[in-house]
């Protein structure tokens, strides 16, 4: 079965075409180059012409190189041996540890039957008030961080990772800067989280095709752990690089491009990864947090746009803080009714008042007269930004709610907040 073929008839981009027979779609092949070996995956078969995308890139491949088909699709080793290890996008170790070849699982397993899911119901506490209070993260949620280049999205991902109460952290790096990779490694190490982490790293200088494999490998491993009852958090940074890699390959394959050159199946491609987020009935869960960088801060760009239609909300990072208005956790109401009786009140009231603060700011900048009410709002807005919105704030949910009441009572009398009397009586801070 493992016949060796040497007739490479075309090399275009990172895609090579070889004449071969009896090859299965999506099968993996091993290419022996003068400089070593690389894996490749079948992406099209036309009669005897088999097109493969070469994970390590096509640079240096000669038409005389040997191609050996392995007779199966991509697999990855999984299990506890992976904890604390670092691999590249093809599953090859980047640390000094041994190669793993046991407990192989297929990547890209079929979708989960929707009736085997449970309604998400467990909150993941992060210590970040903008998340915990206003847009609670929920176990099994899929949530991107929409952000422009330069925003601290990796810092945010890392902080959620080390503070979240979960069993395993899997980091899938796509086109990550080497510095960022080291940042993740050091941060997790300092907080003693490295031993429950697994890294799959594709850095900006690595071949593009390998980038495509990262989410699949990361999620296949995550799924295996989740089926064994573990609660897994998968961090993907950055999914825009993944989409750009898709674009590159599809254009090489002369596919008809859709919006802005991205392939027509961008939505399906993103969805099949994000939909791996799941809370299994009678087993563990996968929660996905992903960075999606938006070229030009444009949320209508095809990548964030398609992502927004797939994911269960988004954290919108702007000016170094989580923006209250673009951000949304669609699943928050599944959990914030059970935290503390004042959670939803604080969440709604503070945001409504913050919206009024933004309006007052606008009025001020237009040079209109400020009323007494406007001045109260301005005071409130500044306190909110400094004490609640800053990503430096790191406090448990209950403390954050108390802080919310403190800020409200520093700026307003109860009637001005529009909060129901029964809740005011219970929670409004008493004057000392």
């Amino acid at each position: 079965m493992q016949k060796v073929y040497t007739n490479i008839i075309q090399i275009a981009g990172d895609v090579i075409t070889v004449e071969a027979e009896g090859v299965g779609y999506n099968d993996i092949a091993q290419i022996t180059l003068r400089s070593g070996t690389s894996l490749a995956q079948v992406i099209r078969i036309n009669g005897k012409r088999v097109s493969l995308q070469v994970f390590a890139g096509s640079r240096g491949i000669s038409t005389g190189d040997k191609v050996r088909f392995l007779g199966h699709s991509m697999r990855v080793a999984t299990g506890d041996n992976l904890l604390g290890r670092i691999f590249n996008g093809s599953g090859i170790p980047l640390d000094r540890g041994p190669e793993l070849s046991e407990n192989l699982v297929d990547i890209g397993a079929p979708p989960v039957n929707p009736v085997k899911r449970i309604i998400p119901n467990k909150m993941i506490r992060t210590g970040i008030p903008m998340v915990d209070v206003f847009n609670s993260l929920v176990e099994s949620q899929k949530l991107p961080i929409f952000s422009i280049a330069g925003e601290p999205y990796n810092e945010l991902l890392a902080r959620i990772a080390i503070q979240a109460e979960i069993d395993i952290i899997i980091l899938g790096g796509m086109g990550l800067k080497y510095d960022d990779y080291l940042f993740f490694k050091n941060t997790l190490e300092q907080h003693g989280a490295l031993s429950r982490s697994i890294f799959f790293m594709h850095t900006a200088s690595d071949p593009v095709v390998e980038c495509l494999l990262v989410p699949d490998i990361a999620l296949a491993v995550a799924e295996d752990f989740a089926l064994k009852g573990k609660r897994v958090l998968v961090l993907l940074s950055d999914m825009t690089n993944f989409a750009d890699a898709l674009k590159e390959i599809s254009i090489t394959m002369e596919q008809v491009p859709s919006n802005r050159g991205y392939p027509g199946d961008l939505y399906s491609q993103l969805a099949s990864r994000y939909e791996k987020a799941v809370d299994f009935d009678t087993a563990g869960s996968i929660t996905i947090l992903a960075a999606t960088t938006m070229p030009g801060d444009d949320v209508t760009h095809p990548v964030p746009d398609n992502t927004g239609y797939i994911t269960e909300g988004q954290f919108y990072l702007k000016g170094g803080v989580i923006e209250p208005f673009g951000s949304l956790s669609r699943l928050k109401q599944q959990v914030n009714g059970k935290t503390r009786a004042d959670h939803r009140t604080i969440m709604d009231t503070m945001i409504q008042l913050f919206a009024s603060y933004r309006e007052a700011l606008e009025k001020q900048s237009m040079g209109f007269q400020m009323s007494a009410w406007d001045n109260k709002l301005l005071k409130y807005g500044l306190l909110f930004e400094k004490n609640m919105m800053s990503l430096k704030v790191n406090i448990p949910l209950e403390k954050a709610l108390d802080l919310g009441w403190q800020i409200l009572s520093d700026c307003f009398v109860p009637e001005e907040t529009g909060i129901k009397l029964s809740i005011i009586e219970q929670f409004w801070p008493k004057k000392q």
Binding site: I45, P114, I119, V256, S258, N259, E275, F368
Partner: protein, 578 residues
């Protein structure tokens, strides 16, 4: 008949080219024989002796040369008792049964019977010798709260004679209940179930009529300002996060129809699972039975194969037409038709067709049009009426309504409920923007009053825009009050609290009553000395109104609040001089 066998010649993602030396039928179903597995596929283009097929499953591992068995049949669904309460995928595979058999994951190539082998008590309605037409009722079985009529197969032609009919008996789904003779003397067996090709509309009715009766959704903004007609069509476009799904969920619970078909087409599994798990526990206030008993869910989430997504809306509309044939009023909610259009785009790209606007295929508009055209109010052969109403959610790229799917949809629907980011950011739900939405249907609110309410909203919006430029202090008191009236109408009538047990759904009677009440306020003059007074006045009645909205219709509390509001109004109202 001999089986026609072809062989795979080319594989490109989920499109497979099959060579065979026999005839091929467009849209015919074929099965790829891959080891033990039989994978379903549909012919979407024929070129010389090659059939290009979309495979409804992952194509991983398929090889050139593998056998493909052609079925002589178009992609069809099974129609018969036992559909209600079920959860199917886009190909009518029952998902709960699949989970029992295969566990957590959807196993490739496993197709289960859509209808189970339950025994049904059949009661005949005709006698031997009777003359019938396709779609005529032969008898019925009880299904949940309905009489499920067993009808003459929709594909039969001309006048038929009943040669044999079962007497009152329990029957299984595949057991014969009647024999019919057509005009050429050919005999046809009739079973409790029949099958129908999903891409062909069922037309076994006498005539299609103009939809004229309002369909009450119990959403005030929709029913009072942008009504939907029974048998009509409407669309809900909106950017992500604007609340399409919540709106569809509310409609599926409260709309006054007999049956709801929900087509989750390429949507988030996390949201679909909520419908799947909550519907069986929710009680339908009209029947006092679980809501799921009058619902069928077609569930093809975004990670399930793209070609099954393409067929899921057809599966859904075929089921809707089937129940319409029984004289029922059916509502089909498709979420989202953009995902369906994207599935077409994906396949079109694979076929290397010349792309149209934004790479959608050139036939996008005609496909969308023919889908919505399957809605309608019809008069059946026995003089009763049935209807299919279609409400499609649209997810326009970038939230931009100029894009091809929204535009093609707007051309063919009777009402447009456009959601806006601005409204949802302002937590104004439902986030249907009254300034851009429209409806061609007549609602139950008096036309003149409806128009003047629209006018009040437009006027208020204009003043708000003006105030942004010249400030509050530069606006006249009269204009300022005009602005407040519009905002008041918006906040107490158009906005509805989906998390309040009473406010989430408003009956027709209550809407008529409250609308009149508010209409009077909008067109009354008030003694308000300055802007501060005016703001305070409208805030106060606004707050009372919201409490009123969550009090039960005609309860003591309802009457008490009404009186309180009336007193406030009377204090400030200037009587109209005759």
């Amino acid at each position: 008949m001999n089986k026609r066998i072809g062989h795979i010649a080319e594989i490109n993602a989920n499109m497979v080219t099959v060579k065979l030396d026999d005839f091929v039928i467009q849209n015919e179903v074929a099965y790829i024989l891959h080891g033990e597995q039989r994978l379903k596929a549909e012919v979407i283009r024929v070129r010389a002796n090659c059939a290009q097929m979309q495979v409804f499953e992952s194509t991983t591992g398929l090889k050139v040369g593998e056998q493909v068995e052609f079925s002589n049949e178009l992609l069809s669904v099974e129609l018969g008792p036992g559909l209600l309460g079920q959860i199917f995928d886009g190909l009518q595979n029952p998902l709960p049964a699949l989970a029992k058999q295969c566990g957590f994951f959807l196993k490739r190539g496993v197709y289960l019977e859509a209808l189970t082998e339950t025994e049904w008590e059949f009661t005949p309605l005709v006698e031997t010798g009777a003359k019938v037409l396709a779609g005529s009722k032969l008898g019925f079985v009880p299904e949940k709260v309905f009489k499920h009529y067993i009808m003459v197969p929709f594909g039969l032609k001309g006048v038929l004679e009943v040669v044999e009919i079962s007497s009152r008996l329990t029957r299984k789904i595949h057991e014969r209940i009647a024999v019919l003779k057509d005009q050429s003397g050919k005999l046809h067996d009739v079973f409790l179930k029949q099958s129908w090709p999903v891409k062909v509309p069922i037309q076994a009715y006498a005539e299609k009529l103009q939809p004229s009766q309002p369909l009450v959704t119990k959403m005030r903004l929709i029913d009072s300002l942008f009504p939907v007609a029974r048998g009509g069509t409407y669309c809900i476009p909106g950017p992500f996060g604007a609340g399409k799904t919540v709106l569809q969920q509310l409609t599926s619970r409260h709309a006054e129809v007999d049956i709801v078909i929900i087509a989750a087409c390429g949507e988030r599994a996390g949201e679909v699972v909520e419908t799947l798990k909550t519907f069986p526990e929710l009680i339908d206030p009209r029947t006092n039975k679980p809501l799921i008993d009058r619902t069928v869910i077609i569930c093809n989430t975004s990670s399930m194969p793209v070609s099954a997504r393409e067929s899921s809306v057809y599966t859904a509309v075929t089921l809707a037409e089937y129940y319409r044939q029984m004289g029922l009023s059916v509502l089909l909610l498709a979420d989202s038709t953009s995902r369906w259009a994207q599935a077409m785009r994906e396949m079109s790209g694979r076929l290397e067709e010349i792309p149209g606007e934004e790479a959608f295929p050139a036939y996008l508009e005609s496909r969308i049009a023919s889908f919505y055209e399957r809605a309608g109010l019809v008069r059946l052969h026995d003089g009763t009426f049935g209807s299919v109403t279609i409400g499609g959610a649209v997810s326009p790229a970038g939230g931009n309504f100029e894009e091809p799917v929204t535009q093609a949809t707007l051309k063919v629907v009777g009402a447009f409920h456009g959601l806006s980011r601005q409204r949802s950011d302002g937590r104004r739900y439902p986030a249907i923007d009254p300034l851009i939405s429209w409806s061609k249907y007549k609602g139950f609110i008096d036309d003149e009053k409806e128009n003047s309410a629209h006018e009040a909203l437009r006027r208020s919006h204009e003043i708000a825009q003006m105030m942004k430029v010249i400030g509050e202090e530069g606006t006249s008191l009269k204009d300022y009050i005009g602005y407040l009236k519009g905002e008041f109408f918006d906040s107490v009538y158009l906005q509805q609290n989906a998390f309040d047990a009473v406010d989430e759904a408003t009956s027709k009677e209550r809407q008529l009553y409250i609308f009149d009440f508010i209409h009077d306020i909008l067109f009354a003059d008030f003694k308000l000395e300055n802007k501060e007074n005016a703001l305070h006045f409208f805030q106060k009645i606004g707050q009372l109104f919201r409490t009123w909205n969550s009090s039960l219709w005609n309860s003591a509390e309802f009457e008490r609040i009404e009186e309180e509001i009336a007193i406030l109004l009377e204090e400030k109202r200037i009587p109209i001089e005759k």
